[in-house]
Symmetry: C2
Subunit: 209 residues, 2 copies
């Protein structure tokens, strides 16, 4: 069966999205075909508006419509804490959890020789400047829980160098995901969860930040 060129082209464009395979992409295109013509226009417009409107915060690197993002501009947030994340997407997840009230710093990359990626030097430099200017007292690393995240953590520790005795450097704990089950946990997770076990009287989840 030879599919129309425009059909296949769109499937291949959509199939490149993360988390979207060929079958999902194909289903998406069939969904598009069912919509009325105005729908395609509003999708095109939305994609266009996105590029026009969204920019990167000059301080933390998050998405914003202004020069400075809402979090950096919010005087109610705790300016003595910076949470270092790899991507802008991680910030949305952190904010949706509602558990953190400090500032962020988007690295925009991680240390991963296999993927030929590294942390942009400019971003590290900016982090150091922000720590000094804001008088930050704690840098919390919320990096991906795997080897690349660990390497990135060590690299940041290295980069902060002389700032460190005064500034506390911490990272999110490894352990069992809440709602998961022991039976399905992988060996590595069980290993770290056991190593990082906490005494019951310190509370299961630690203190709220």
């Amino acid at each position: 069966m030879s599919l129309p060129v425009s059909f296949s082209r769109l499937v291949s464009l959509l199939g490149k999205f993360p988390g979207v395979g060929e079958k999902t992409a194909r289903r998406m295109v069939f969904y598009m075909l069912e919509q009325d013509p105005g729908w395609a226009r509003s999708l095109s417009q939305a994609v266009f508006d996105l590029r026009e409107e969204v920019r990167t915060c000059a301080f933390c690197g998050n998405i914003t419509t202004e020069e400075i993002c809402g979090i950096c501009a919010d005087t109610m947030r705790d300016r003595t804490k910076i949470c270092v994340i790899e991507t802008q997407e991680d910030c949305v997840a952190m904010e949706q959890s509602g558990v953190y009230g400090g500032l962020y710093h988007v690295l925009g990359g991680r240390c991963s020789p296999l993927e030929d990626q590294e942390v942009p030097a400019e971003s590290l430099e900016r982090l150091k400047n922000r720590i000094a200017e804001l008088g930050v007292r704690e840098v919390i690393l919320a990096l991906s829980p795997r080897i690349e995240g660990d390497m990135t953590a060590y690299m940041i520790q290295d980069a902060l160098g002389s700032q460190l005795p005064a500034v506390k450097l911490s990272r999110l704990s490894y352990g069992l995901p809440v709602g998961g089950s022991i039976g399905y946990a992988d060996r590595a997770t069980l290993h770290v969860a056991l190593e990082a076990r906490r005494e019951m009287d310190s509370g299961l989840f630690g203190d709220r930040l």
Copy 2:
């Protein structure tokens, strides 16, 4: 965290796609932000081209760029068989399997009171006409393997009525999916697989069409 309006609008548009939830949609939008500006233009263009180019085959209802689709126009295909499917998407799956060499008929709906859906009467009428005009000898129902598909099958059996003694009406077999495992099969599937068991000498997969 207040996300940019254009960001949220695009997430909500993409999140409506089948198989795409909010998290995947968000990831897709972040992916879009990483692409160079020309990419957004080519996506917009691809969506536009799709609507311009793709139409529905006047005979079988599949997608095509011409009045008649490649399958209906192909004189090498077996015109004595029509495979009835619910959606255009099902045709892509059937064709990719490479196991069927006849014609198709897209119903464009299924019998589902709960979803407030029914088979378009016009589509059934067209099916009856095609059976008569082409001199079809077998109608193969490839409907979704659940109660709605069963109801649709009975409805088609009913609609074909007097054509039936001469035209054979069959449907795809229920049973275990190839590559699956007995341990993970659900009760209903095991039940039908047991009921529809075949003697070994008739071959595991039946005859190729």
